[in-house]
């Protein structure tokens, strides 16, 4: 143990100088007040939370206080905060930062969040926690301010990168940390080289597809906690995992992860009302769809030129989306004549499509709803089309994309809140905005990764939402969409059940990449019947494990 028991030199020499100069001396009242102030700010115990007493305007939920306590007292200040979306991970993080700052363990904090959340984080920390967080806008901010909020993309770029590495951070916080699941990315490497005395990783979806993802996250936080990569591969990746291995892994992860679920919080959450909306293609759309589907029967040489599944999904979304993909194919230099003629033929079919069945249904729903609506689509072309289409019917909408600059995102959100009825977001816009003032979500096309659906819904089904949340899932009849919906969203009852389980289940099953799995089934099955049987199999498998996992819950 190091003891630094020499009293502060500066005080000593100043004091002696005062004696020599015979003053000036302070008055007795002020002297006593200084001691009173000191006694109020002294923290006599290692344990317990001081932060709540400092935050009279904030009433954290019991599970949030417990999370903060566990992180400080049991996890030594290094944790993955993995509450379900909308349970207030930011509040937990704020409590933890505040606690450390009050105790004088943390002064300099680096907070890395998606660009769209930067100003929101800074605002919340200032207003709710009286933490003087500053948004990184100029490079001098890094060394002149103690608590800085920035996007990871800014921080990792020069000239910032070098300056950031020179800072002595006591705490590093990363929001939407599932973006760091891949250890071979620049972002991962950047964070890995940051000095992390205390560290919080925030994510609602610690495992999206593969078990390595959780390994990578934990290794950022606490390298070696799950062993070295080679050992981890050997111990957990093999098909035949023993129950003991599973248990051991679970216990290890629990040590560094806090995961609250809605149903565990004993709170009255607004309900999710889920409705499936079947869409019937019109004749021309159906014929276009069939033409692409038929490509499956072409010789491999031709077939492989097309990303058939992508095209099918695009057609279900909008002819514009499919058009963009086909057009790109024509622009390729090495396109052969045969392919070209197929593409041209498809383009001709696209031109003959008179209307968009899904868009019409969308319009009908929007017109029947009083409040605001968020539409999620996977395709940029669909987004543009919908904006135009709604405009034609006198409905103003605001587009939202992941690629927007931070200020533009904030601006768009405010536009939506104050002036527009509809917000149209692409997938990349799904995380990083909080829109609890809206109660309706249209899943215009469904993502195949169920974790992404949860991210979408979490935008509005979160703390602060007062009404029930309505979710409309579109599924086009007799297409790939119907299979997806029936598998993921109806049979597994994804929407109603607790999403937290699914990541565990998929991981257990070794179906780490469910999207690819489904793609393969759709592409390589000979008939509708075969598809249905294979999908049925997956369903059975998942449900079987789901029941099992209901009994032994994993990370909580």
């Amino acid at each position: 143990m190091r003891m630094e028991l020499t009293f502060n030199e500066e005080w000593k020499s100043d004091f002696l100088k005062h004696i020599e100069d015979d003053g000036p001396w302070t008055n007795w009242e002020l002297f006593k007040l200084a001691i009173e102030a000191e006694k109020h700010t002294t923290v006599p115990s290692f344990t317990g939370l001081q932060a709540p007493a400092h935050l009279p305007h904030l009433t954290p939920h019991p599970y949030q206080l417990e999370a903060a306590r566990r992180v400080v007292e049991e996890m030594n200040g290094k944790a993955i905060l993995a509450d379900e979306v909308g349970l207030g991970k930011t509040i937990e993080a704020g409590l933890i930062i505040k606690e450390y700052m009050i105790r004088g363990l943390v002064k300099k904090v680096l907070i890395l969040v998606p660009a769209s959340l930067v100003s929101q984080w800074a605002m919340e920390l200032n207003q709710k926690f009286y933490i003087p967080a500053v948004v990184q806008r100029k490079s001098y901010v890094w060394d002149q301010y103690d608590v800085v909020v920035s996007s990871i993309d800014t921080a990792k770029r020069e000239p910032h990168r070098s300056i950031v590495y020179e800072q002595d951070y006591d705490m590093v916080i990363i929001d939407e940390a599932h973006r760091l699941k891949n250890s071979r990315t620049k972002n991962y490497e950047f964070v890995q080289h940051l000095q992390k005395k205390f560290c919080l990783l925030l994510t609602a979806t610690p495992v999206q597809n593969r078990l390595e993802e959780v390994f990578n996250l934990v290794s950022l936080l606490k390298p070696g906690h799950l062993g070295s990569f080679e050992h981890f591969e050997k111990d957990y990746k093999g098909k035949e995992k023993s129950i003991e291995d599973e248990e051991r892994l679970r216990a290890l992860i629990q040590k560094v992860m806090v995961r609250n679920r809605r149903q565990d919080t004993e709170m009255d959450w607004p309900e999710r009302i889920v409705k499936t909306v079947p869409i019937h293609l019109n004749e021309e759309e159906a014929s276009l769809y069939k033409a692409v589907e038929d490509l499956k029967r072409h010789p491999v040489g031709t077939r492989s030129q097309f990303s058939i599944i992508t095209l099918l999904r695009e057609i279900c979304s909008s002819r514009e989306a499919a058009y963009m993909t086909l057009k790109k194919m024509l622009e390729k230099e090495d396109v052969d004549e045969n392919t070209e003629s197929i593409v041209l033929n498809l383009l001709k079919k696209i031109e003959s499509v008179p209307s968009n069945s899904k868009a019409e249904k969308t319009l009908e729903i929007i017109q029947s709803i009083e409040g605001k609506v968020i539409i999620f689509t996977e395709y940029r072309a669909t987004q543009l089309f919908l904006q135009w289409f709604l405009q034609q019917h006198g409905i103003s909408s605001v587009p939202f994309r992941g690629g927007f600059k931070r200020s533009k995102k904030d601006w768009m959100k405010e536009l939506f809140r104050n002036h527009a009825k509809v917000l149209i977001a692409t997938e990349a816009g799904g995380e990083g905005i909080n829109l609890q003032f809206c109660q309706h979500i249209i899943n215009y096309d469904l993502p195949w990764n169920p974790m992404r659906i949860e991210q979408r819904i979490g935008r509005i089904h979160r703390l602060g939402q007062e009404g029930d949340v309505h979710i409309y899932n579109f599924a086009t009849k007799n297409t790939v969409e119907e299979h997806i919906l029936s598998l993921l969203y109806e049979k597994i009852q994804l929407f109603e059940s607790v999403i937290g389980q699914l990541d565990e289940i998929l991981t257990r099953l070794g179906m780490r990449d469910i999207e690819k799995h489904i793609s393969d089934i759709l592409l390589h099955s000979e008939s509708e019947g075969e598809i249905r049987i294979k999908m049925e199999n997956i369903k059975e498998l998942i449900n079987y494990h789901k029941e099992e996992s209901d009994e032994t819950r994993k990370y909580s």
Binding site: K39, A53, Y130, G224
Partner: protein, 258 residues
């Protein structure tokens, strides 16, 4: 700290700094800042710089602090235990009240000159830090003639009637121990006090540290040269290394009757 205590604290602080109180009712305090306190609290260096350059008349601000949340009619800053303003005033107090010299205000009977003995007082915060932290406040008094040491000195002083000027018919006894060596003596005392404490917390912190270090070494197995290994290793030291520090909050010389 209750809202009422905060109000009283603020009131004492401004009075001790000679700020006139403009208005006071339950939970509301309006004060006229002095030039010094405006500079201390209001963070407007440019204004003061400008004024000094141009030689204008200083116009220090008034400050209205509200400790009762129900006072919605009053325009003012709401001050609570977590409010940055309160902590600014806390640190301002400590800054302004670092050094003191006082005499016990005695009235010797029969006009015989009475002696006052010199004491060195140090108020000290000791912090115990690893990945957790706690503090202990101690107040020590050292008799600068005999070398006797007294604990809870501040509490004892608070009972006494003290004055900044030497009272009539009293005289001070010269210290035999010089203030500088007095400070060193008290440093030794603090060390001794700490050595008698239970240090299991630091043993536990070292165990946590060693455990994490072991994991880290396993993770980097064949790659101990890696830059990130060095970074992580240093981070673990900063996280867990048990350190005890002592910091003088304030102190001074007190001349007391024996």
């Amino acid at each position: 700290m209750k809202q009422e205590n905060i109000h009283n604290y603020l009131r004492s602080y401004f009075l001790a700094n000679e700020c006139p109180i403009l208005q006071e009712k339950q939970g509301v305090l309006a004060v006229q800042l002095t030039v010094d306190l405006d500079k201390e609290l209001m963070n407007r260096p440019f204004y003061w710089h400008y004024l000094e350059k141009t030689g204008g008349t200083p116009n220090p601000m008034t400050l209205t602090l509200v400790t009762n949340q129900d006072e919605e009619m009053v325009q003012g800053e709401f001050v609570h235990f977590g409010a940055p303003r309160l902590h600014q005033i806390f640190s301002s107090t400590k800054k302004l009240a670092s050094f003191i010299r006082l005499y016990e205000n005695i009235q010797p009977s029969s006009h015989q000159n009475a002696p006052l003995h010199p004491w060195l007082c140090l108020n000290i915060k000791i912090s115990y830090q690893c990945d957790l932290k706690k503090d202990r406040f101690i107040s020590l008094g050292l008799h600068l003639v005999s070398g006797a040491v007294v604990d809870d000195f501040h509490d004892q002083l608070s009972e006494k009637n003290l004055t900044p000027k030497i009272p009539d018919y009293t005289f001070t006894i010269s210290p035999i121990i010089k203030p500088a060596s007095g400070i060193s003596r008290l440093e030794k005392i603090v060390e001794m006090l700490i050595s008698k404490e239970d240090h299991s917390w630091s043993e536990e912190a070292k165990r946590r540290w060693a455990a994490d270090q072991l994991l880290l070494d396993q993770f980097y197995e064949d790659n101990l040269e890696a830059e990130s290994y060095a970074v992580e290793k240093e981070a673990l030291r900063k996280q867990y290394e048990p350190v005890i520090t002592a910091e003088v909050i304030n102190g001074g010389i007190f001349y007391l009757s024996p």
